[in-house]
């Protein structure tokens, strides 16, 4: 437990933000992919500007093509379609419009200024329509404005010379976009939260502070699930409903764990001094449920259910009706003392919350299996 705490304390700021949002190094992989495309685009822009506009233009062609390819990749919001034909077509048309007009009016400020206002308006107006048009609107705005920033320093024709490599490399970038990286990262973050449960259950919080710390750890993992889901939705919108279902079950598991942690620590050996079976039945059930979550199988699930049923028997025994299954009429057994009654309530709550935990994790597993299948 101390290890987990100290690890959490050390995680802060930027490192924490990136680590929690990039399970499995998703962001680094995506960054490597975008960087490779941008580097190739810059080389293409350099060569194209050199060939079409002369030697001083090469570096400006590389800068314009590189920056715009990078921004286009960052602005991209893939649709649910398997193949990004529409995104590519929209981006290409946007580049043609933005860079085409930008290159044409770049050396004529009198024309460029009113055109800037029109392009700013149009670039935002298209947001009323579904993707990829909003993305295309941003690409038009950026390609036009960046061309105007470079215009005073570039020979005529550089911006136009960059259009071909831009279209080629943005198309390649969109086509081979590693969308599934984010889905896998999302699934990994759910798995990370799920895998933390058996350890929390085994260590077993034994006071209020420990319960709160345990709940905070699981909640931190739940927040990572939520963060990862935003990226998964953006890059894999076809499975957005499945992502939501998975977050829903993750949130349910987190809240069930909060209930369980809150109930389990209240069952103490001290309360059952004369009935050691009660506390040991609860501990056995905790261990069996932890095992069933850590290594799910029919056998482990069966063992957990048997262990949970044992708590029920212990409760029945302690309540003075051992083994009785028929309808009580209010005339059986001795009056329970306040202490015994409270201890029994805690025991019943533990049994209920452990059952809920087992069920919630089983539902989460089923959804995880469905999503893993869908992401292949």
């Amino acid at each position: 437990m101390a290890t987990i705490n100290s690890r959490d304390d050390k995680a802060n700021g930027l490192t924490s933000a990136l680590r929690r949002r990039a399970p499995g190094g998703a962001y680094w992989r995506y960054a490597a992919y975008v960087s490779a495309i941008v580097a190739l685009a810059a080389l293409g822009g350099y060569a194209s500007a050199l060939a079409l506009a002369g030697s001083p233009a090469g570096k400006f062609g590389a800068i314009y093509t590189g920056i715009l390819t990078c921004l286009s990749m960052l602005f991209l919001k893939p649709t649910a379609a398997c193949r990004p034909y529409r995104e590519i077509a929209a981006a290409c048309v946007a580049i043609l419009i933005g860079a085409g007009i930008g290159g044409a009016v770049g050396h004529h400020p009198g024309i460029a200024q009113p055109v800037t206002v029109v392009i700013a308006f149009a670039g935002f107006y298209v947001r009323r329509w579904p993707e990829p048009l909003p993305m295309a609107g941003l690409v038009v705005v950026m390609s036009f404005i960046i061309s105007q920033i470079l215009a005073p320093f570039t020979p005529a024709g550089v911006i136009h010379a960059s259009i071909l490599p831009l279209i080629v490399f943005v198309s390649i970038g969109f086509w081979f976009l590693p969308r599934r990286v984010f889905t896998r990262a999302f699934l990994m973050s759910v798995l990370r939260m799920r895998s933390a449960l058996p350890a929390e259950l085994t260590v077993r919080p034994d006071d209020k502070e420990a319960v709160a710390a345990s709940v905070r750890r699981i909640d931190a993992l739940l927040r990572q699930v939520n963060d990862a889901r935003v990226q998964a939705d953006q890059y894999d919108p076809a499975n957005a409903a499945g992502h939501l279902a998975l977050v829903h079950w993750s949130a349910t598991v987190a809240r069930v764990w909060e209930n369980a942690a809150d109930g389990l620590y209240r069952v103490t050996s001290e309360d059952f001094k004369d009935q050691p079976d009660a506390a040991s039945a609860c501990r056995a059930a905790e261990a069996a449920v932890a095992e069933a979550i850590a290594r799910p199988s029919k056998a482990s699930r069966g063992a957990a259910e048997i262990a949970l049923a044992r708590i029920e028997k212990v409760v029945a025994t302690l309540a003075g009706h051992g083994g009785e299954t028929g309808g009580g009429t209010g005339d059986g057994g001795d009056q329970l003392s306040q202490e015994t009654g409270t201890a029994l309530i805690h025991l019943i709550n533990s049994q209920l919350t452990l059952t809920h935990l087992l069920d919630a994790v089983a539902k989460l597993d089923a959804e995880l299996a469905r999503q893993s299948e869908a992401s292949r």
Binding site: W28, A32, N226, G326
Partner: protein, 348 residues
């Protein structure tokens, strides 16, 4: 033009945003024509790209952009000087610069802008640009951001928060009504099929909520988005997940007939959960986290009332278990509300 006027014109949010962007670009152009600036389009670019939607979001993004530019300038100059000192070709840094922009995009908009600015500084240094030109990027960015903020406050302010808050409100009300009806059914010992329709209303609200939250996020220009959208996205799965378990637990509890014996306590739980739901709604509206009390004392009072039943036979014990199960379901909902509030606090 005030928000009221904008509402009367009936313009779509995208039209208002487009007009804002156009006016912001025009204002920036007018400004740069009056003042001699090295790179007039840095002002214009900032005046356009920080336009997000609501004036608050535009303000936040403008601050992020200006601060990010400041950090980027400092970092870019420092990195360049270090590379000169240790004789590393500065062009090598460009190889690191692009991945940094992409990775930092996922951390925050401010950090991404810092990485972009650091890259621009390196490019300018490699191109032999003067230090004053590099510093002018910061000044131009601040001017552009100020123009964008002024435009977003003065021209056709966008009520993008309103639709999402209305939907959250409808959802919140349906959830409170569902809890109230369920507990009332337990108190009366009679389950009504109408309560099931409450869950249907919840699902309908959730269905509306999702595209609205997405729309709000999509309207966040360039990268990033409003805290309200992220908070709302967190609200949805947390709250919806507990409706079904409350319904099924309450249905079983209603059959026990024990509700009549704990009427006062159940009504107190009902009132407290409604108050907590109101607190969440207020927090979403104001952006300020509110206190969401635990319900421990109410649960303990119910448990105390049920203690004698444990010794009254198996059927009584099973009835008590049904009530405890309902309490656990309600507890999960309340934990969920507390968790939402904690997330709201972190998003600030």
């Amino acid at each position: 033009m005030s928000m009221g006027n904008a509402t009367r014109t009936g313009l779509l949010p995208s039209t208002r945003l487009a007009i804002q962007a156009g006016v912001s670009a025009l204002a920036a152009l007018v400004f740069v024509n009056f003042v001699n600036i090295d790179r007039p389009y840095w002002v214009i670019m900032t005046a356009v790209v920080v336009m997000v939607g609501t004036s608050g979001e535009t303000l936040a993004k403008s601050m992020d952009r200006t601060l990010g530019t400041l950090f980027g300038l400092i970092a870019g100059l420092a990195i360049y000087w270090v590379t000169v000192l240790i004789h590393v070709p500065a062009v090598v840094l460009l190889v690191i610069a692009v991945p940094s922009i992409v990775v930092l995009k996922f951390a925050s908009y401010r950090l991404m802008v810092a990485a972009v600015t650091a890259t621009v500084v390196l490019l300018l240094e490699l191109g032999g640009a003067s230090q004053s030109l590099i510093l002018s990027r910061l000044v131009d960015t601040a001017i552009g951001a100020a123009i964008a903020v002024a435009t977003s406050f003065l021209i056709l302010r966008l009520p993008t928060r309103r639709p999402i808050l209305e939907t959250v409100d409808a959802y919140d009300t349906a959830l409170a009504a569902m809890v109230h009806d369920s507990l009332q059914a337990v108190i009366e010992g009679r389950w009504s099929a109408d309560i099931g329709t409450r869950v249907g209303q919840l699902r309908a609200s959730a269905a509306n909520f999702e595209p609205l939250a997405d729309a709000l996020r999509a309207e966040s220009a360039l990268i990033g988005g409003g805290d309200i959208a992220r908070a709302a996205l967190a609200v949805l799965p947390v709250l919806r997940g507990h409706a079904d378990s409350i319904i099924s637990a309450a249905q079983a509890a209603a059959r026990t007939g024990l509700g009549a014996e704990i009427t006062e306590e159940l009504q107190q739980v009902d009132r407290q959960i409604c108050a907590n739901l109101d607190a969440v709604r207020t927090a979403l509206e104001t952006g300020t986290p509110q206190a969401v009390p635990r319900l421990d004392s109410d649960y303990q009072a119910i448990q105390q009332r049920l203690l004698p039943k444990l010794g009254e036979g198996a059927r009584s014990r099973h009835d008590v278990v049904a009530i405890l199960n309902l309490l656990l379901a309600l507890r999960r909902l309340n934990h969920g509300l507390r968790n939402v509030m904690a997330n709201l606090g972190k998003s600030d």
